[in-house]
């Protein structure tokens, strides 16, 4: 009743303004939380799902000046530089910043604020490897008997794909990473367009033929959580923490928003404790807040030791070249030497 009354009052006074949040397709939050926010602020929330994280950001860049949303959430550290260079975000020093983990504050201009973080990581299907031996070191993946078991995402069209590519650059170096990928290619690695195609079509857990997949360190925990009691232990596991790639997801207010105050409220809300504690089981990322408690099921998702972190500046400078070189080697079958020669 109270809710109805409030809604009527807002409607009558024209307060029920709509705030649009542009997000990636994996976005998800508890409906009750959203309803409560709408009730308390009188704002109506609308979520636009723009595809993969990179694709979503590009939509915002392409509509710069006449933004299709007020707030953008979900672009990660591999794309941070693009968002900042495109100059589509307004700076906002949210009062919640003091509660966030300091290591996540990668943008000193406060245009992009961290909401959550996690690791892109190799997953394997435990059932498949019950009687077979797992690869011992990252370099083993390139051996034909393992390469043909692996499905990865195209780094040009998928952010976990890009993250995994960057992890291989960090692990094998500028000279070595192309050789690694050339061997994967020759061994028969499969390339999927995006994460869901790789995981739900090609991964053996979902009746595909690849027991090794690029996913997230939290995916095993998610399998248990969604199994409704079927699994007590994760049916999948993480492989090679040294190939896990550290990812931070950001939120920002889009330049040209017609409701700056409302947009600020949305940002504060995303960083508030209830939402932060909801993120793990909805989006399977770790909350950016220091004081947010993790759900029980996250005991299956320990933070990988020795994972890969890259400087956003290094990523910004090399991202396009890495993607182009990867494409030449993996999709087109050029030799790594020829590609390296082409750098000059």
């Amino acid at each position: 009743m109270l809710r109805l009354l409030a809604a009527l009052v807002f409607l009558a006074l024209g307060w029920a303004q709509e705030i649009t949040v542009l997000t990636h397709s994996s976005f998800s939050l508890d409906k009750g939380l959203i309803a409560r926010f709408e009730r308390e602020t009188g704002l109506k929330l609308r979520f636009l799902k723009g595809g993969d994280a990179g694709e979503t950001l590009n939509r915002a860049i392409l509509t710069k000046g006449a933004p299709i949303a007020d707030v953008i959430y979900g672009f990660d550290n591999t794309f941070l530089s693009r968002a900042l260079e495109a100059d589509i975000l307004l700076p906002y020093r949210s009062p919640e910043i003091q509660n966030l983990k300091a290591t996540l504050l990668l943008d000193p201009s406060f245009r992009a604020l961290p909401v959550d973080y996690g690791w892109v990581s190799l997953n394997y299907d435990r059932a498949h490897f019950k009687d077979r031996s797992l690869p011992k070191a990252p370099a083993d993946l390139a051996r034909p008997e393992y390469a043909r078991l692996l499905v990865v995402q195209n780094p040009a069209t998928s952010s976990p794909g890009l993250a995994f590519l960057m992890a291989t650059v960090a692990r094998f170096g500028e000279d070595g990473y192309l050789d690694f990928w050339a061997k994967l290619r020759d061994g028969g690695v499969r390339v999927a367009k995006g994460w869901s195609e790789a995981y739900y079509t090609h991964f053996t857990l979902y009746k595909g033929d690849r027991p090794l997949v690029v996913s997230y360190t939290t995916s095993p925990a998610a399998e248990v959580y969604y199994s409704e009691g079927k699994y007590q232990e994760p049916p999948t596991g993480n492989l090679f923490p040294e190939l896990a790639f550290f990812q931070v997801e950001f939120v920002g207010i889009l330049k040209g928003t017609k409701n700056l105050e409302g947009a600020k409220k949305v940002v504060d809300w995303l960083l508030s404790k209830p939402v932060q504690e909801n993120i793990p089981t909805e989006m399977w990322m770790y909350p950016a807040r220091r004081d947010a408690k993790l759900p029980e099921v996250f005991r299956f998702a320990p933070e990988p030791v020795g994972s890969v972190r890259l400087d956003p500046k290094v990523m910004a400078q090399n991202r396009e070249r890495w993607i182009a070189e990867w494409t030449q080697v993996v999709l087109q079958g050029q030799s790594p030497e020829a590609v390296r020669r082409g750098r000059r």
């Binding site: 723009g50 000046g65 006449a66």
Partner: protein, 493 residues
Amino acid sequence: MARLAGLLVLSFLGLALFYPLSRILALGVGEGFAKALANPYYWERYLWSLEYGLLSAFFTLSLALPLAFLFRRRFPLREAFLALSTLPFVLPTPVVALGFMALLGPRGVLGVDLYGTRALLFLAAVFYNLGLALRILLPVAVRLEGPMRAARVLGATPFRAFLRVGLPLLLPALASAGLLVFLYAFSAFGVPLLLGGPRYATLEVEVYTLLAYRLAFPEASALMLLEILTLGLAVLLYLRFRPYPLPPGELLPASWAWTAGLAIFFLLLFAPLGALFLQADPRALASAWASEDFTPLSLALGNSLRFTLLALLLALPLGVAYAVAARGSRLLDLLGLFPLLVSPVAVGLGYLLAYPAWRGSLPLLLAAYALLAYPLLARALLPALRSLSPNLLQAARVLGATPLRAFLRVEIPLVFPALQSGLALALAVILGEFGATLVLWRPEWTTLTLAIYERLGRPGEAPFKEALALAALLALLSGLLFYLLDRGRGRWG
């Protein structure tokens, strides 16, 4: 009046095509062009697009030619089969792609997984274009009877008569059908995007990927230029092939057995659609109706119908004006064909660059739809207009009608069936439009086509089922609307 019509078409083309395109090209010519051409990967994409176009044309013709000879006979349900053969051509790409997935995908009914293989892509191309090729070959094949009989009377064996008389006479029709199939396959977007995986991306898919994911305007526009040049060449060739004047022919008699044979053939041809309907679950339709995770079906359906109607209202006067203007001017005829050469993806991006203030506004999307649809409408209208005797118009003028009145009251009623066919074609194109919508998309504008694409990109069994059900619905809808307007006449191609 023709001059006025020409002016209308030209000013629309200028605003809706040439200016936006020039903005993209301006970014690509120069450094981007050099950079792209120096990269062997892009040449690989180009060669694959060429291969896809050429082999698709080859496979389609090898099936369409014998089919055209079968259709020279009069047999029960002949017209229905003919109408059926063109149905795939007006099916939206996600429908066809999903149909093939349902038949030959990882979870397909046949249990054979051809996903991400060349074979699947070529099958889809043949499925798409067979009816188109048949429509072009058939009238000539029917008229061959006289000349071939003459050759037989003069002592040639049937085979020799076909080889020395039939084939040469068929050549222009074969060439123009082949070129049209090439045109469509070379610049294909939806099918390779959804079925090909990264290995078999065509130039058009690569342009989309470069822009949507990497914002690499220079490279993308260089590739676009390459695409336009190739397609332009194909169109110039296409326009060169004029059919030989042949005596009117008549249909040969045939039996019920003929019908039975063709029925089996069509059953095989439509197996992908059959599989789609077999796998489509009506309950998924219900769950899609008010979906909370994706665009609800109710909204998508409303959008599709609304946009199609609005765009048709725009495309109709444009198409008529273009047909009237092109009747008298070869140059205008050529210019008016231009939208067929340009990728919808590029059109969408050109708009974003050229009209920043209009970004995210509906007129841009409608202009794109009208641009892509009006040439097809006009192509259907043009032959009918050209075959009208000028005396009719002169008579009306002598009796005191203004040129406009004479046109509306005399000519339009006479070409009305052709106009209807053209409208049907335009409607099918708009209803299934994919590339430009994907670029200009605002979430609240999600059409049926995009609602399918949206569900395909998400994890899980449920969205996939919804996508299948929506595709079946869209197939029914476009088939039905097309049939209602065209009634299987198909005076186009």
